[in-house]
Amino acid sequence: MNNPGPAACSIDEKGRGRGAPPERRVHRDTIFVEDGRLLSQQQYPGEQFVIRIQAPQCAAAAVPGSFAHLTCNPERPMRRPLSLMRVDAKAGWIEILYKIVGPGLAALSQQPLGATISVLGPIGNGFSAHPERPRTLLIGGGVGIPPMVFLAESLKTRRAGTPWQPLVLMGSEIEFPFRARPSQILVPGVPNEAIACMPLLDDWGIASRLASFGGFPGCFHGYVTDLAAHWLASLDSQALGEVEMFACGPTPMLQATARVARRFGVPCQVSLEEFMACAVGGCAGCAVPVVQADGSLAMKRVCVDGPVFDANAVFPPQVS
């Protein structure tokens, strides 16, 4: 729900307003509709796909946590909301990881290179990392991995100003959508057997570790949130005071993440997903209960009020 507050606007003789002043209309023209061109589509085990789409306006305005609402196939005209994993504003492309869960994404996976895919985006409020907490702990589960990659890349490019020390932990019960390899980066505090990483992040100089019950080599055997707790427990109180957590993944994983964050007294932001229709705030189809600062409950739209929320607001202690 918008919360515009009383507006200073001119009123005609019938009491009709002429709209809020321009500074109250900053939301206007912030989401673009583009005929994107499918540049590449790479399949990974478990019906996972990484696609790259030429969509320069979306790429230029996206921030970590943003998503795009894609038309998968004209025969299935409802769009699908998918998190952005990487963008290149200069080259004008966006990259998305998805897993087939129904006929819409199955149709998307069949699109040939060069196909036109309508892209509505970027949408949503992104993550905000705070420089006073440079030890950023990023947790991605399954198809919740993409925003973590985007955030990690963003922290890499912003390194000049702040000594960000991101650690990315990823969990998956199926094979990861990349070829894992032993990390070149030492991470004190994680179990010795956890050596596998996401090569892209390692190449960027960003530490990452993988967790799974799937028995994949070099992965921590357990939940990604257990791996996070392991690392957090290794920190002294001063170091813990410099940690901020960010997470995206299945709801049980996010609930567990919220619990871990509370246990260690670390602030945490989570990115939610929900079925969506409009994705621009018009239909309230994606609303979820959120605890507000005064303790009251409000229904907030995942699309434009989120998808990133404070973990305690969406998973309060009594629930999670």
Binding site: N2, G17, D29, F275, A284
Partner: protein, 322 residues
Amino acid sequence: MHVPLNPSLAVDFCGLRLASPLVLLSGCVGFGEEYTRVEGFSNRDAGAIVLKGTTREPRLGNPAHRVYETPMGMLNAIGLQNPGADYVIDRILPTLDFTETAFFANVCGSTIEDYVEVTRRFDASPIDAIELNISCPNIKEGGVQFGNSPDMSARVVEACRRVTRKPLITKLSPNQTDIRENARRCIEAGSDALAVINTVMGMAIDVKTRKPVIGNIQGGLSGPAIKPIALLKVMQVAEVARPHNVPIIGQGGICGADDALEFIIAGATAVGVGTALFYEPHCCKRINDGIAAYLAANRMESVGELIGSLDAPKKSVQACAC
């Protein structure tokens, strides 16, 4: 000699001059500003915007999932989430730009008193017209419980009629035996216009979990899947409404200009666009252009010439479809 025409899309609707016959439907565009987030979208492309359903007190709405795609359509069960009439009138209406388009309120309640009170509050606001939502299928009390009974529908309309002089639109449910009888009773009770139709009740089941997909179990079906149903209802209601000069907002699955034209030919003065916005946020421009092109090609100067121009033999209106 060929005389180029520049047909007007403007329509007269209950004394209001709408710049286009397109009406953005309640529940699809929030409280009027949401879609302006999309670059290239303008409220000026719509003749009117119907604000989200508003109740006397704030409502949190239904639990997730609230929306789900079905073949050529979608189910929704939002549950009338809204911040309450006072907030809408005092905090939201002042932020709307009434020079861009007309804004209609959409009023819903659990009791007749609720409808009357919210209507009374909107009557004292700058809103251009008031739509009575007696057909929402997604709340436990009120809504469609009124709309499925011609007696109850008429009582709501009659009571609200007493407290407003603004144009009163009644939104009719397709989920009833005889929509014509309901339309007739609403007109007699003082409804200035009719919106035909609201969503068709339906459900979907997740076969993996054997649970309903929609949190509310049932939802309202919209989109192209319901267009033939809506079109028939509009034609039927138009037969009742025409002698009273009561205009209709035809709605249900309109995605393109041809869809809109069908509804206008069937008897609608204005046409609603909802689910199509979710597919294509810029669809209003395309539909407006298509209507204008059709009018020009048929040497018509205005939409008014096309309204109710259906050329159907009387026997096609028979109830039996065997």
